[in-house]
Amino acid sequence: MTISGGKILVECLKREGVEVIFGYPGGVVIPLFDVLYEEKDIKLIHVRHEQGAAHAADGYARASGKVGVCLATSGPGATNLITGIATAYMDSIPMVAITGQVATSMIGSDAFQEVDITGITRPITKHNFLVKDVNDLARIVREAFYIASTGRPGPVLIDVPKDVLTSKTEFVWPEKVELRSYKPFFKVNQGQIKKAIELLEKAERPVIYYGGGVIAGNAGGLLTEFARKHSIPVTSTLLGLGAYPVDHTDPLYLGMLGMHGTVYANYAIYHSDLILAIGARFDDRVTGKIDEFAPNAKIIHIDIDPSSISKNVVVDVPIVGDVKDALQELLKHSFTVRTDAWLKQIAEWKKSNPLTYQQSSQVIKPQFVIESLSRLTKHKAIISTEVGQHQMWVAQYYQFQSPRTLLSSGGLGTMGFGFPAGIGAQIARPDKTTIVVAGDGSFQMNVQEMATAQFYDIPVKVIILNNTYLGMVRQWQELFYDKRYSAVKLAKISSDGKEYYYPDFVKLAEAYGWWASRVVTPQDVEQALKDLLAQKGPALLDVIIEQEENVFPMVPAGANLTQMIGGLA
């Protein structure tokens, strides 16, 4: 029996275990949406903009560990996915993006809604495919999911011309994926493990620096076990948060490092004599001035991607492989790391330079909102952030206890990511309270997805830390551009000099059928958060915060990690 390409594609998705697709229809993909119309096993979430589909699929993947799937039509539908695909690529998130394409006979003719999407997405996908023959479709879908989810994960795009969706062939499910040119599995080298242990035994000031790879590799538990077994202090990247339970009273826990890291994490890294980097890539926001990063440290680097090793800093002992395997190997050996004196030094740094802010009884401090939120959710909610100051306050003040609870665009820094990603995460984890923490700027970048949440009764919660500014840019302008606040003010200032909030987020949310409320005084924050969390459906809380609060500490771009401003004792 022969079936259409559209049916083959959907059958393949089911066999890959896909339960949800985030999509937006259009001309050439109507045949595919027609198949999905009567499909019971796959839930189709119709978003309101393709960018929302890509971020929602990304959030779904981050929260669940499964491959997220998004779907768009050719031309503008496909190009609207791009920011979402690039976001997933930078943060190594497994995703399959399916785009429609004009019929094979029309390709290259500048047809209506034609764009060379495989050409455009080549540098932002792990791999991509243009399906030219329906007989290749099943194999390509299988390969796409395999590539997206193995090795260092990443987005894979499949471009499917309209005639491939409509032409019929025999469906053959390839049981095995055979790619002679793609071998993502590396056995951890025992010799390298031995070398690493030798360095650890010799070290006097070791630090573990871990990143998103520990989350992707489901190795949070092993990381915690290893650090505690040997009493080695740990510091996290933004994307690593949650891999080791956040507790600033834990003598081993240093919090986040880098540009907005804690003073003690940055001091510890700078003064360390050995860095054990696990699933992290020495991003410039982490290292500060690269030539002065940890000047006296030897570096052991565990990573599944050989190209991450010695890319930005020279590594002494590379260990290529799955972080889980590497940590298991390290845990098998018995050895001693002497860190007593080092931990004493770290405790002093922690005591003299704690992560803190100036509380106020007049105006709401954003850090206080996040602290309260952390406490009220028992530190267990999934928090999805946009990008900017609020993102850093979440990273600093929410006490993430487990992996896959912080969703944030780390590498690309995509404003507009957090809200749709939160929708995707809530669908992946209906059992978890999912909260989007947004700025008043970022939230407007994909605000249309309020319709999606309302339409599908997705009970996502949104907290807007509203300072009437693009706060992070304003902070840079304050510190480095003589307070010349170019294009950052978001509130409207009327002729009499009064400013009023616009849009009115409460009214806006209500227009979409959401529950919404606003809080303006610190005394009301707790109750307002409780009211928000008590809502059964989608709900928004507009929190009017201190307008010119800054994120501190801060390592200015190009400075070394000890050259911090703000937050110093």
């Binding site: 495989t118 050409g119 080549r122 540098p123 792990k126 791999h127 243009l130 590539i147 790619l179 002679r180 040119s181 793609y182 991607d305 050989p306 190209s307 090793i309 010695s310 890319k311 020279v314």
Partner: protein, 157 residues
């Protein structure tokens, strides 16, 4: 320093674009690149000469390996290998000069592949240095046009 890489890739459409895109996106410098099918028609070989220091070339190799359709990357610089380039060089001549150009071609084991009243075209193959040398000699006689392949290379033995 220049490094010669021999890269085996799947013979799919778009592979060359992926490789070229990788070099431009990461700011690596290609000195020359040649592509052709191997004895197995499903595999192509690209000989890429890259300019850079040790660390850059190390990244080039890793990034190439990361591409799904790259089967194998070999750095020939570390091994014994033979390399060849081919050049076609058209020189403007008159009857008196023609003899001289042919003699130069003979010294370099070049071949005369075309001749006219006013031009002579030489084919020469060899190492980069050898091709450079004959070009240098012919320059003073007035090269009208020239086409030169990238380097191709094979490991010895």
């Amino acid at each position: 320093m220049q490094y010669t890489l021999s890269v085996l890739v799947e013979n799919h459409f778009g592979v060359l674009a992926r490789i070229a895109g990788l070099f431009s996106a990461r700011g690596f410098n290609i000195v020359s690149l040649s592509v052709a099918e191997t004895e197995d028609p499903s595999i192509s070989v690209m000989t890429i000469v890259v300019d850079g220091d040790n660390r850059i070339v190390d990244q080039v190799k890793k990034q190439l390996n990361k591409l799904i359709e790259v089967i194998k990357v070999r750095d020939l610089t570390e091994e014994e290998y033979v390399e060849r380039e081919l050049a076609l060089i058209k020189v403007g001549v008159n009857a008196t000069k023609r003899r001289e150009i042919i003699e130069i071609a003979d010294v370099f084991k070049g071949k005369v592949v075309d001749i006219s009243h006013t031009t002579i075209t030489i084919e020469v193959t060899g190492s980069e240095e050898k091709v450079d040398a004959i070009i240098d000699l012919l320059k003073s006689h007035g090269i009208l046009e020239m086409a030169r392949t990238g380097k191709i290379a094979l490991i010895r033995g």
